[in-house]
Symmetry: C2
Subunit: 210 residues, 2 copies
Amino acid sequence: MNAQKPKPRKEQQRATETKTAVLNAALAEFGAKGFDGATTRGIAAIADVNHTIITHHFGSKEDLWKATASHVFGLYADRINRRRNDLDGVDAKTLHRLLLREFILFTADVPEFNQFMTQASQAGGERLEWLVATHIGPGSENEIGVIEEAQSNELLGPGDPQYMRLLFIGAATSIFTWANVYKLLAGENSFSSDVVDRHVDMVLDLFDRG
Amino acid sequence: MNAQKPKPRKEQQRATETKTAVLNAALAEFGAKGFDGATTRGIAAIADVNHTIITHHFGSKEDLWKATASHVFGLYADRINRRRNDLDGVDAKTLHRLLLREFILFTADVPEFNQFMTQASQAGGERLEWLVATHIGPGSENEIGVIEEAQSNELLGPGDPQYMRLLFIGAATSIFTWANVYKLLAGENSFSSDVVDRHVDMVLDLFDRG
DNA sequence: GTCTATATTATGATAGAC
DNA sequence: GTCTATCATAATATAGAC
């Protein structure tokens, strides 16, 4: 009946770029300062956009925070799924060792992921409940599977998988959580490839019971 | 010459109580929300005092943050020094195992310590530089000594002591950093005595190379 | 879709009464 | 030492021009 509706493709593409820039800026700000400490104006300044377009594209600050959470969880899921596909056919022990390794490497590449999650956990409240119900809970089911497989292959010692998962995350993220302190105390850059490589080996060896 | 100056003892005591209440409230708020996210009005509300007396007793918000840092570092130093004195005469290996244990127990008793430090590290900037120069750096010299002694006694594996210290802290604080998540995901209270006891044993065994 | 202008509230800090 | 009142600024959010 009607002709196809107009498709403002260039505008949509432009809008997508703007939204991505805002989401990355929001991730950095929410990670560094938490929900209350971050400001929509500060986020807009980092993304180099007018602060009112945040409301236009995302709605409220609360909505932006949720969109940011979904954005970074998407980055994480893509990374792990891509790695899983690359490792098709690899034996179970090697596979799960490499999946644990990939988590550490992702944390090194996108430290804002761990920062964002730490802020959400420490703040608690309804936002954390939403995050657990929407992303952490569903995502942790896959991760618990990896933990249990790793335990079967003696890559991790026995114990409640939920507990072991948090213990592993704590050790894996340590030098990134404390990167600024490590830099000031020891002059070391936690994100340099040699520090990251040594850290990966150290953490995997630490938990390895084989 | 002059008579002793007037000593308004009761007023001073009252003021001390007020200041302590404010410092504990500030520790909770700065730990949960970071410097920018916490508000002097919110802190005053928790301490149940008028918000203007914060300015009177502590000066600016920045000064309150520094006083809070000094307060919680004092709590930590007192705790470790008291434990050290109690352990006078104990053999080196047992001593250092118990000192590592005491750090974990302090983190469980005063989780705001770890939260406050995490916020400061993630935020970076001049405040973190002050914190490292004033408290973390001087304090870490003692801790590095404990780490090295623990390494000598095979309580910790070999490696750069500064790095091993952060790795140990990451593992030791994990279930407290993620306490709210652990509660929502697994229904477990990270601060219950049985969870804490199991965690202490798990972490010390994890690092133990003896 | 992006901008300027603005309403409303929250926040850090100060002045001054008691 | 503690309170009420107030100022100046910053923040979230919205309205409306282009």
